[in-house]
Amino acid sequence: MQPGMLQLLGLIVGRDLRLAMRHWDQVIQPLLFFVIITTLFPLAISPALDELRRIAPGVVWVAAMLAALLALESLFRPDIEDGTMEQWTLSGQPLSVMLLAKTATHWLLSGLPIVLMAPLVGSAMGMPPSAWGVTALSLALGTASLSVLGAIGAALTVSVRRGSVLLALLVLPLEMPVLIFGARAVDLAMHGEAVAGPLNLLAALLLLFISLGPFAMAAAMRISVET
């Protein structure tokens, strides 16, 4: 029996969540990385909250971006290595939907924890409570975009030896618009100004990436799987 598209999405999300439950240590790693990176800045620059407050939006966003990048390594590689991905490409089901489901799960496991942790990290760097909501919201929209863009890059480089440096090289330039709008939204919120503009742009970018990204992912994955 052929599952419907939503059922297919649900099956894959369920499978990946179950797999992640059994490797909790790996799921936690990007979040730890995120916290550790933000800890470096007070040590390197200055522990004075006044100075940290100024750079807090950028630090939180850059750390989130790097953590998302780190997490991409485990997005497709296990499935390629044990042959699952090959089965998927041959299954006759839409590969783009399956990869989108994987990416969504990946965001739930690596992006969402960062989103929830970010206000805490931000407040440790002197961010006023009024900006916490916008920080979380901008990161929620932004990290989802990063997951989609990252998934395209991961699908392209998954069969390449030592692909992780290459992955960073490919994905980071593409992600920069997201970073610009995200950090800007947080910065505006800290100064009590209207944040609708950058947030709307972030949402628009996310919609664009979600609607077109899966096709690029699927095309890239087909190239990576065939050997």
Binding site: T157, R161, L170, P173, M176, A216
Partner: protein, 261 residues
Amino acid sequence: MSSNTESSVLNAPKAGTRWLWFHKLSSPPYAYRTSGVLRPWFLWSAVILLLVGTYGGLLLAPPDYQQKDSFRIIYVHVPSASMSLMVYVVMAVASAVGLIWRMKLAHALAAGCAAVGAWFSVLALFTGAFWGRPMWGTWWAWDPRVTSELIQLFLYLGFIALRSSFEDTQRADRASAILAIVGVVNVPVVKYSVIWWNSLHQGPSITLTGASIDSSMLWPLFVMLLAYALFFAAVMCDRLRVEILKRERNASWLADIGAKT
């Protein structure tokens, strides 16, 4: 690694000859010969226009009332910056054609574009820095347009890096094609960055509705733009021929040409 000459002829549509040129173009021997014939035309017209544009820009055009003689950098800076974007669009379109119609020559063209485009970006950034030193008082400003041009350069470098990490040319072609198409989102960002953000970089002097600079300064700029485009075409003829030689190194038609020359 055999030639796809025969298959492209076989695939030619039966209905009409409207697409014949397209299928002819995808044949390596035809493209190899055509680009060889076109190359000197492109090259010499580019050289002549470069000389005319340089003479007009450096000697005939009057100094700017505000920027004095340093404005003359635009005759190098603007063409290279606009070429860095145009080359990317050419590269992305060629990549898309290569993916959709499985045309190997389009991939060869895209592969040739990357390094040229990267150099145009470098040239735009360097000339911008030399202009920025006297005008903005700094070599480098984290200005939206400068930053997005730098991102453009990174995209070219990423494309080149991705290509070189595959050993199989066909996989390299298709993987890098996807990257080129995805990266196209950056082109409008660079182009409109001066309008979207409050930028240190000056706004566009030339728009569709008219130009805000005097015609004595303007015509050398257009000549230079055209010269750069022709120069790019000439370089691409060479690069395409090299790519064809690399890809078709075992094909029999090359041996035929080699026997004649």
